[in-house]
């Protein structure tokens, strides 16, 4: 053995002996550290702000923050009210809306309430300008009055399809809230209040459906989805792992210790997150499930080696030392590459991925440390019987598989190569979709309410702060004309349900000022007149309904809001591009700086942002993992070469996803580096066996391939099954991002096994294998694979 290996082996033996001799100290220290770090969990909070999905450097977020500082925060509750039958212009429904409007002012942090009832209806009466609530005393309105309200509401551009549907079936109350953002409980408490208000309204006005959406409900849904995941997914995950352990380890003690170990690793990961004051998003909350999946592998390798040694006649203590010795390097290398893959997530633009990466990396490192300290210490204390010698079954299958691969290597090489190339060619067909209502599974209330509300009202606001020639410029006739053209253009776009524009207010005021004559429903043609109309209008508006959220303070810009129906990211992009193109072509120079912004715009580009920021992350991961591979395989060239069979299955997985599913959310950006860190393990094991077969055992290439299959094949299958099950299990998450991440990673891991078994040998039998066998270096591949050798027996 090379000197360094001996040194590592010696260290491993010393460590194992120390751990067994001082097992109580080790167990006690483990418990102490676990409790100490896990105590950080008390600082954990659930994130309830969609902005947590964006780093502060995200340009779309910066634009939107600036927009909100100029106008108003867009946090809101949106109540959609639908009577069981008939239209909303009934005494009961309007009374409901009136009462809800008044009561909504009691919602904590509410700063504005808009509805049909408090809509400031303006009309002329001789030289008087009357400004009043559109609906007052709804209960006692006569049929004629109701018909009049209906007529006014359904022809008012500011109301139709925004607060009442054109067919009169649905009506809405919008409540703008502004949180001080001083406490994590603000959102859930406010949501609880609003829900209680809705329940009171439902009790008082039966025969109505009231659903709540809006940014506050979205923010709350992130929290509720995370909570549902934590309480429902993780217990089931333990059950799943229990079964897997029972099948592979076949020992009560081993199973118990492993479960303890992975539980400790995940609580330490979460405790560390608490100390770092991380606000947990559903994405970060998939970390425990991932830690459980990855941590189990370390324990399984060590326990299986130990059992095999005992079966071969070793006593328990010696078997433990041997298991630690032969697995030490393998477990370290695999943990290291996996941790690197997760740490690369720090390059992402989305903080939840930083959290997921760092929590998982902590858990992985802790699991590794425990597998060589706490695990042997516990096992040496707990009873464990030597299993009866058993006939080997797996090897014959693996042997024939090897034979098959060698025989058909040419077909496999070109066939799989072609499949790989075809799949990779399909990659560009992947379509990003980050429609945030669909982030949530239909079991989450918010998703149900959003789906309901979408049948009546638009869902995704797109904001434009339209720039005028300067201070007071919003009154400039030329500007108003352009603004009106822009508004008209937006209204012709597909999927636009409503456009809120100052021009509608100006036209109405102009008509009001001319005795409500329809012919005066035009824009004022005089700057001073417009400015004075605005002044008049501002003076007449009641508390909370001012124009501050529509016109900036020096009146140099006004806000236009286009509301889109529940459409995909791609369709949103079409809209945004069309709007930008219109501005570029038609807007005067002063207006050209107008850009679309909003939460929806942020989510529309979140996938691109993260994919582009993760390119650097993936390169860093590939380089770092490549270095580890060179160390593990003890050769620069083989290490570098090994990256080919690793990259191929991951890229093919993306291609397969493009063909099978088509769309993916921004979590796709995380898949590459995470799965790379995991799939390299298979290659390490297989390649090192192959090289050892050639160099130590003197096999030819076909023989070395057979040797690799027989020694490591079964363990790779077991490992892959555990990982695929664990990641695929994320598909049950209430949060679609986790499902995408889990399924894609599971697909990549499955592909990796297929490529390692069927393509890599074929590759080795061809040019590169020749090249490897001819590399006659003094150093030999290490014993990283001994674990697998033993495990496979």
């Amino acid at each position: 053995m090379p000197k360094t290996m001996t040194a590592i082996d010696e260290f491993a033996v010393k460590l194992a002996n120390f751990v067994i001799a001082k097992r109580w100290l080790v167990i006690f220290a483990t418990l102490l550290i676990t409790v100490g770090v896990a105590s950080g969990a008390r600082f954990l909070t659930f994130s309830n702000n969609y902005r947590d999905f964006f780093s502060e450097f995200n340009p779309e977020l910066q634009a939107f923050e600036e927009f909100q500082n100029t106008y108003t925060k867009n946090d809101n509750f949106f109540f959609t009210i639908v009577p069981a039958e008939g239209d909303v212009f009934s005494n009961e429904t309007l009374a409901l809306v009136e009462e809800l409007t008044t009561e909504a002012w009691q919602i904590p942090y509410s700063i504005r309430v808009d509805s049909l009832s408090n809509f400031q209806h303006t009309y002329a009466e001789e030289d008087d300008l009357i400004v009043e609530d559109l609906v007052k005393g709804a209960e006692s309105l006569t049929a004629d009055e109701l018909a009049e309200k209906s007529e006014i509401a359904l022809t008012e551009p500011l109301l139709r399809n925004q607060l009442v549907t054109a067919d009169g079936r649905g009506i809405a109350v919008n409540v703008v809230v502004q949180y001080p953002e001083a406490s994590p409980f603000e959102v859930p408490e406010t949501v609880a209040f609003a829900r209680d208000l809705r329940d009171r309204m439902l009790a008082k006005y039966p025969g109505h459906e009231i659903r709540m959406t809006g940014v506050s409900m979205l923010n709350n849904a992130f929290q509720e989805a995370g909570f549902a995941d934590t309480t429902q997914m993780i217990p089931l995950m333990y059950l799943l792992l229990l079964v897997l352990m029972a099948v592979t380890v076949r020992s009560v003690s081993g199973t118990v210790v492993t479960l303890l170990m992975i539980a400790f690793a995940s609580v330490i990961g979460m405790g560390a997150a608490g100390f770092a004051r991380i606000g947990l998003t559903p994405i970060a909350l998939s970390a425990p499930t991932i830690i459980l999946t990855l941590a189990i592998a370390d324990a399984v390798h060590i326990l299986i080696t130990m059992r095999n040694s005992m079966r071969a006649g070793m006593n328990k203590r010696d078997a433990i030392v041997e298991a630690v010795r032969v697995n030490f390097l393998a477990v370290m290398v695999t943990s290291l590459t996996t941790a690197i893959g997760f740490l690369a997530l720090n390059f992402s633009d989305a903080p939840p991925f930083w959290h997921l990466g760092n929590i998982s990396a902590v858990g992985i490192v802790v699991a590794w440390a425990m597998s060589i300290t706490f695990l042997p210490a516990m096992i040496s204390w707990l009873p464990m019987r030597a299993p009866k010698p058993k006939a080997e079954t797996g090897n014959s299958f693996m042997g024939s598989l090897a034979g098959f691969v060698v025989r058909n290597n040419r077909k496999l090489f070109y066939g799989l190569g072609a499949v790989g190339v075809l799949l990779i060619a399909a990659m560009p067909r992947i379509e990003f979709n980050d429609q945030w209502t669909e982030y949530f599974s239909p079991s989450i209330q918010f998703r149900q309410d959003a789906d309901f509300s979408n049948d009546y009202f638009g869902f995704y606001p797109i904001e434009f702060s339209v720039q005028s020639p300067g201070s007071g410029g919003v009154s400039e006739p030329e500007f108003l004309e352009k603004l009106d053209e822009f508004t008209a253009f937006l209204r012709t776009q597909p999927n636009v349900t409503h456009v809120y524009s100052l021009t509608d207010i100006m036209k109405r005021l102009n008509r009001n000022m001319h005795a409500d004559e329809a012919s005066w429903y035009t824009l004022p043609d005089d700057r001073e007149l417009s400015a004075q109309y605005l002044l008049l209008y501002e003076l007449s508006l009641p508390y909370g309904l001012d124009l501050n959220d529509r016109i900036n303070i020096d009146k140099s810009a006004t806000r236009v809001t286009a509301t889109l129906s529940n459409i995909s990211t791609t369709e949103t992009k079409v809209f945004l591009d069309a709007a930008r193109a219109w501005i570029a072509e038609n807007a005067p120079d002063y207006m050209k700086t107008t850009v679309p912004t909003s939460a929806q715009v942020m989510f529309t580009y979140v996938a691109e942002r993260n994919v582009s920021s993760m390119i650097a992350g993936n390169i860093a991961a590939i380089v770092a993992i490549g270095v580890v591979m060179m160390f593990a395989l003890r050769s620069f060239t083989i290490g570098a070469l090994s990256m080919v069979p690793n990259a191929l299955p991951i890229l093919s997985a993306f291609g397969a996803w493009a063909l099978l599913v088509g769309t993916v959310g921004f979590s796709v950006a995380a898949v590459a580096s995470v799965s790379l860190g995991i799939v390299v393990d298979d290659t390490v094991h297989f390649l090192s066996k192959f090289v050892r077969g050639v160099r130590e055992k003197g096999y030819d290439r076909a023989g070395a391939i057979r040797y690799a299959f027989e020694t490591v094949g079964y363990a790779l299958v077991v490992n892959t099954v555990v990982l695929v099950v664990g990641f695929a299990y994320l598909a049950t998450s209430h949060f679609k991002m986790n499902a995408d991440l889990g399924l894609l990673t599971a697909l990549a891991i499955s592909f990796a096994l297929i490529f390692d078994f069927l393509f890599l040998p074929a590759l080795l039998l061809r040019g590169s294998g020749n090249w490897i066998t001819n590399t006659n270096k003094d150093d030999r591949t290490g014993d990283t694979d001994d674990a697998q050798t033993q495990a496979a027996q």
């Binding site: 909100q68 500082n69 100029t70 700063i111 300008l129 002044l535 007449s540 009641p542 501050n548």
Partner: protein, 273 residues
């Protein structure tokens, strides 16, 4: 001989005092009445220092600041005619000087105590006077954080009062009085006014919104005396919910310029240049 009755009366007084005190302790209404009376008295005393000025003229600059820190100014002047009868409000005329687009736009207001004010607006570009019929009293004044009622003269009978206690602010001992709007359509549930005990001027007002959360704080600074009449020259209104603020700075007041009801008739609006 005189001892006994005296003693008896003393004892009687003591018993009465104990009974009264005990009663008032168990009966909060009595306390509330006391607090209301004292609150009203303090407000009335402050209000009296303001009465008897007859009429006034003053220029003002209003500076608006939004959450991003951007600012914008409007200049205007006010003419006010006092009406001594506490059951009716003062008459005021607000004329905008800048921004230039609204120069000459004039708002005439006949304040009422509990009903909506009578308001007329003259739009020079339209050359018409329009009466504004609006039930809204606490709506924002030209996009600022002030409602019109926040900076025009305070009418005593618009509120019900409650004395809260004393507090020292900026080295001054203040009486703290809560006041509850009696008129409809107010955006406020209550206001907390801080009145100094020295010259009885309101130094600070906290406004609580419909859900009784702190909405705005008005700080009244730079008080100056004009022959016994005190006037603040700087009002700063800070909105705690939106982080916007507005500063209203007054120039020097002129009193007794001989204004009369004729100067506050809607007919004069058109004659303002």
């Amino acid at each position: 001989m005189m001892h006994r009755p005296k003693l008896r009366s003393k004892r009687l007084a003591a018993i009465l005092a104990v009974v009264t005190l005990g009663y008032s302790l168990i009966n909060p209404i009595t306390w509330a009445d006391d607090a209301e009376d004292k609150g009203y008295d303090i407000a009335a005393r402050s209000d009296r220092t303001d009465t008897g000025f007859g009429d006034s003229e003053v220029t003002a600059v209003m500076t608006l600041t939004n959450a991003a820190g951007a600012t914008s100014t409007r200049e205007m002047y006010f003419k006010t005619l006092e009406r001594e009868n506490e059951q009716v409000g003062d008459k005021s005329l607000t004329v905008f000087v800048t921004p230039r687009d609204v120069q000459g736009t004039a708002l005439l207001s006949h304040a009422k105590i509990l009903e909506p004010d009578d308001q007329w607006l003259f739009l020079p570009a339209l050359k018409r006077v329009k009466r504004i019929s609006s039930a809204n009293k606490s709506g924002p004044f030209v996009g600022s954080e002030f409602a019109f009622e926040d900076f025009t003269s305070t009418e005593l009978n618009k509120y019900k009062y409650k004395y809260i206690g004393e507090e020292t602010v900026d080295g001054m001992t203040m009486d703290v009085v809560e006041r509850f709007p009696l008129y409809e359509n107010s955006g406020y549930t209550r206001q907390v006014a801080y009145v100094d005990q020295d010259v009885y001027q309101v130094r600070k007002i906290e406004f609580y919104d419909r859900k009784d959360s702190l909405l705005k704080t008005l700080s009244l600074e730079d008080y100056r005396e004009y022959d016994g009449i005190w006037r603040t020259h700087k009002l700063v209104m800070t909105n705690h919910q939106t982080n916007k603020s507005t500063t209203l700075s007054y120039g020097d007041y002129t009193f007794g310029t001989g204004l009369s009801d004729n100067d506050f008739d809607k007919g004069v609006l058109k004659r303002i240049r």
